[in-house]
């Protein structure tokens, strides 16, 4: 038992961080209260620093999870992007209230602050992703996934005290509950087919069933249901319907979080669950077919949906749906290249998508958050930095070489072709071409077009999100320089060292 606890050191650090943030947020001292973001970042950094020590060769041989090195890669990258996400949330919570207290107009009341809870929930959700990597049975997997999701429901609800925000939270919560139920039902059926919850035992059971003439029908249906449930987490069609509404309804910083953390968790969970049946002898045909249809639908619906939007956040929401579709190509292709590509793409997508949403989070019009495409028109006149960061992130999401996003797409396409999925790759290429329309529109609006009467009053109101956007944009440009080591780490993470 001590062995398994050892690998949870980063999680324990974050857990204590969550407690400290929750308590610190209620402190009487404004100096502590206002710095919960820093506290959260410090714990995230501490968790990242601990990872190389935790995952050394001596310890990893004792690990019982399917992918002993997975945690090193995922925990580190999620931790780093987590810091960016904390920065993106800078100034989101309690800003007006703290102002009022500082100017003496109001008195401090612990019940009315929420920054502490917000950051605690954020850390808990990231802890969930990290826990996921150590899963060696389905129960653990499920609990970790729920730990990722539950805090996000609350984060959506508390991020905006408006009707749309509340509606988004309710929608997100109820649909999330349905998907969790589906997934759990799938797990139960898989248990029925194998008689165990332990992943490695399930693996042997399925392998034996294959030899005896095929995986039990219960097992296959269970797998399918679990995948459909996970499609909700990654916002893949047909479980993507909630995404645009929720992404639009939540504050931009929370949207950045939603578009990355649950999606990363979902992708990792899909990889772990599919590893039970394995890619070596081909996925069960029904599973592969479903994934194929889901990938195609997700890419096309995401990109075509984005074309039709007039809200920046909805547009980016649809675009992040499409990116799940691209990643599914890697999932279908399987190890080694496909999974490496998914792993690398998660990081690329996380960094560049955060840049886009962080730019939006830093802007406001008359004190209110911005949404319409009109609001970002002529952004370069008011803040060349914000406009550049935003455009670079759109370029990277589109996959313009030599930006980071291009290399991710290249790896996914290469993996797809190598797995014989030529038609899938061609559909991906076509939908990439479709996406050029709306990404170019965003770039054109922010970098080229003149001010509109509406966008004149849009200003940079928050500093930290802008800094996060700039850092992410630098990652989008400079990322290719570390691609070599990133991909070799990813190979190690999925047990395929070079």
């Amino acid at each position: 038992m001590v062995d398994r606890l050892w690998f949870l050191i980063p999680e324990l650090i974050l857990l204590s961080g969550a407690v400290v943030c929750a308590i610190g947020g209620l402190s009487n001292a404004a100096a502590i209260r206002r710095r919960v973001g820093f506290i959260a970042s410090i714990f995230l950094i501490a968790a990242c620093v601990s990872i190389p020590f935790v995952y050394s060769q001596i310890h990893v041989v004792d690990s019982s999870s399917l992918y002993p090195w997975l945690g090193k890669y995922v925990k580190f990258t999620v931790g780093i992007i987590g810091i960016l996400l904390v920065m993106t949330s800078g100034g989101l919570m309690d800003r007006k209230y703290e102002h009022a207290i500082a100017s003496g107009k109001d008195r401090f009341n612990a019940l009315r602050t929420s920054a502490g809870e917000y950051h605690a929930l954020l850390l808990l959700s990231i802890t969930g992703v990290m826990l996921l990597c150590e899963a060696n049975d389905l129960i653990w997997l499920f609990l970790a996934l729920e730990l990722v999701s539950l805090p996000t429901y609350v984060m959506v609800a508390m991020s905006r005290w408006s009707r749309v925000g509340q509606e988004a939270a309710m929608k997100y919560f109820f649909l999330g509950a349905v998907s969790a139920a589906l997934m759990l039902y799938g797990f139960a059926l898989m248990y029925g087919a194998t008689g165990t919850f332990v992943l490695s035992d399930m693996m042997t059971a399925f392998a034996e069933q294959r030899v005896d003439g095929g995986i039990a029908i219960f097992g296959q249906i269970g797998l399918l249901l679990a995948l459909v449930g996970l499609c909700y987490k990654i916002a893949a069609a047909p479980m993507h319907m909630y995404a645009p509404d929720v992404y639009q309804g939540a504050a931009s910083a929370v949207t950045a979080f939603l578009a990355f953390v649950p999606k990363a968790a979902g992708m990792i969970a899909i990889i772990i669950i599919l590893s039970i049946v394995g890619w070596e002898n081909g996925l069960p045909s029904i599973v592969e077919m479903t994934l194929w249809v889901v990938a195609v639908l997700t890419m096309l619906l995401g990109n075509i949906g984005a074309l039709l939007q007039t809200s920046t956040k909805r547009m980016l929401g649809y675009s992040s749906i499409a990116h799940s579709g691209y990643m599914l190509i890697g999932i279908i292709a399987g190890p080694p290249l496909g999974l490496v590509a998914v792993m690398v793409y998660l990081v690329i997508y996380g960094a560049t998508n955060t840049a886009a949403f962080a730019t939006l989070a830093s802007l406001s019009r008359d004190g209110r958050s911005i949404d319409s495409l009109d609001d970002i028109a002529g952004l370069h006149n008011r803040s060349p930095l914000a406009a550049t960061a935003f455009s670079i992130s759109c370029g990277s999401l589109l996959g313009i070489p030599p930006l980071f996003g291009f290399w991710g797409k290249l790896m996914l396409f290469a993996a797809g072709i190598a797995a014989g999925q030529l038609s899938l790759v061609i559909i991906a290429a076509v939908s990439s071409a479709i996406s050029a329309w709306y990404y170019l529109r965003l770039i054109g609006l922010s970098l080229l077009s003149p001010n509109t009467p509406r966008s004149e009053s849009v200003t940079i109101s928050l500093r930290w999100p802008l800094i996060a956007a700039i850092i992410s944009a630098i990652i989008a440009i400079g990322g290719p320089l570390v691609l070599k080591s990133l991909s070799s780490e990813a190979r190690q993470a999925i047990n395929q060292p070079e």
């Binding site: 490496v340 050029a436 170019l440």
Partner: protein, 528 residues
């Protein structure tokens, strides 16, 4: 001495433009691009592979091992010529933009320099992915050059330009990756994207697969050249782009497509090409005649030159697929000549536009009386473009046509699949070119003086050309004469490279004659 200097210097220049004051931007740009030009001349002198088919100036740098992607650079004699064309045109473009660009100067010159890096990357890449990255990277600076500094309709033009080429080349990328994967399977090893490995390997694939790869490659290159049904982005982009943008677009960017055909289509998919060459030739000829007829009815001078590019590059495509050395040398020469003469024509129209703010042939006329120097150059480059013997255009056009003429299966040494009938019909395009270009010259340069009514003289520019503007045109004019008189220097230098590329074709054409390969039925050659 490696090619990396050429690629990195403009990037450093672009970076320093942003650091320093806006007033210094154009001087940094002219200094950097001139330095790159001088360096490239030094490299060209030291280049020991002239006249051979070998690749010189090679530098290795392995990069992404998971996919076998490297950053290898190198150039053979044909690539070296195009490198020189690029490094020559860029400083001229910078020099030619001094008076035209008045706002957002820093970005303008920075984008021009980044564009130079991307173009040089295309010509010197020895790795397919590096080639593709450079090929796509050219889109970004050009997109911004058109979208920020273009004419009235710039937003539409820039987006159309980007989407067309981006979409087409995505399929090219898919084709590249497909070949690389096949190579990986066949060699039982890791991935490799080395151009040399993959081109030799792809030629051994079955004709059916080659057919699909040809289609994928053409999807990207045909849009870029542009070949007939997918040419519609070009007139718009040319008309809306600022002068330097049009020059680079016509001078170098279109050549990326023909260079792609030369570099990849010919060696990679010879068997498919032999089958589809007649179909491509028909599209090229339609392009030649159709665009020429459109030129005839144009009032906008810039649009006229833009359409004439479509028409002219049709000859270049014919030369590329005629499969004999005369035609292919003509095609390579055409790439350079078209860059020089059409580039110069765009400069001239830009200079006229700066003074009169119109490009309408009906609004201006008889400029010879007011701007004799400008008129001299205009007539000179129009004649070069029409193909007057003694100037450069004639040599390459004649070589392309004669090569197409003799490209029949009865040719003993270099059998081809085209023939006299193709050349005869395409030659009508030459006649049409003479007509529309000379009509244009007749209207704009000669006759009685006609100026736009509300015309105010430019504040800083003299009535006729300034010394700076003459300085832009002189090098191009000298090269036009030199190539026109002594093309043998260039054709000798590229002869071995060209014959190496063509070496497998005689055998394939003969096999094809005896037993036509069964290929997939593809009616629509151009997807874009």
């Amino acid at each position: 001495m490696t090619l990396w200097y050429l690629l990195l210097l403009p990037l450093i220049g672009a970076g320093s433009i942003f650091v320093l004051r806006a007033k210094a931007a154009k001087w940094i740009a002219i200094a950097t691009s001139s330095l790159v030009f001088v360096l490239s001349i030094v490299m060209a002198i030291q280049f020991s592979q002239w006249g051979t088919s070998a690749t010189g100036l090679v530098s290795h740098y392995s990069w992404l091992n998971t996919l076998g992607i490297t950053l290898d650079l190198g150039a053979d004699s044909v690539a070296m010529m195009l490198v020189l064309l690029t490094t020559l045109l860029t400083p001229l473009c910078v020099l030619g933009s001094f008076s035209a660009i008045t706002s957002r100067k820093r970005e303008y010159y920075a984008w021009l320099l980044i564009l130079e890096t991307a173009m040089l990357g295309v010509f010197t890449a020895q790795d397919l992915i590096l080639f593709y990255v450079s090929f796509e990277l050219t889109l970004v600076p050009m997109f911004f050059l058109i979208a920020i500094y273009g004419g009235k309709n710039r937003a539409h033009a820039s987006i159309k330009f980007f989407i067309y080429t981006f979409t087409g080349s995505l399929f090219t990328l898919a084709g590249f990756v497909y070949v690389a994967w096949k190579y990986k399977v066949a060699s039982n090893g890791g991935w490799s994207f080395a151009i040399h490995d993959l081109t030799t390997f792809a030629a051994t694939l079955s004709p059916t697969e080659q057919g699909w790869i040809l289609l994928a490659l053409l999807a990207g290159f045909a849009v870029k050249i542009p070949v007939f049904p997918v040419h519609t982005w070009l007139p718009l982009a040319h008309t809306e782009a600022p002068t330097a943008g049009s020059v680079i677009l016509a001078g170098v960017l279109l050549k990326l497509g023909t260079f792609g055909v030369y570099r990849f289509v010919l060696p990679m998919v010879p068997e498919a090409l032999v089958v589809y060459a007649p179909a491509i030739a028909v599209l090229a000829i339609i392009g030649i005649l159709y665009a020429a007829l459109i030129c005839w009815v144009q009032d906008d001078v810039k649009k006229l030159i833009a359409y004439s590019s479509v028409s002219h590059l049709g000859f270049c495509v014919l030369g590329l697929i005629a499969l004999n050395p005369i035609a292919l040398e003509g095609a390579v020469l055409y790439m350079i000549n078209h860059g020089l003469s059409t580039g110069a024509l765009f400069f001239l129209i830009g200079m006229m536009y700066e003074r009169y703010h119109t490009r309408d042939m009906n609004a201006i006329g008889g400029l010879a009386k007011k701007m004799p120097v400008w008129s001299f150059f205009m007539v000179f480059f129009v004649l070069a473009s029409v193909g007057l013997p003694g100037l450069n255009g004639f040599v390459s056009e004649f070589m392309c046509l004669i090569g197409t003429f003799i490209s029949s299966s009865s040719n003993p040494t270099w059998p081809g699949v085209l023939g006299p009938e193709y050349a005869a019909i395409a030659a009508i395009g030459m006649v049409l070119a003479a007509m529309y270009l000379l009509i244009m010259v007749g209207k704009v340069v000669f006759g009685s003086l006609k100026e736009p009514e509300q015309h105010e003289p430019h504040q800083t520019l003299p009535t006729d050309l300034s010394l700076r503007e003459i300085g832009v045109l002189i090098p191009l004019a000298l090269l036009c004469v030199w190539i026109g008189v002594k093309p043998i220097v260039l054709t000798d230098a590229m002869q071995d490279s060209v014959e190496e590329v063509l070496s497998p074709f005689p055998r394939i054409v003969q096999q094809q004659e005896q037993a036509p390969a069964k290929l997939i039925d593809i009616k629509d050659e151009q997807h874009g």
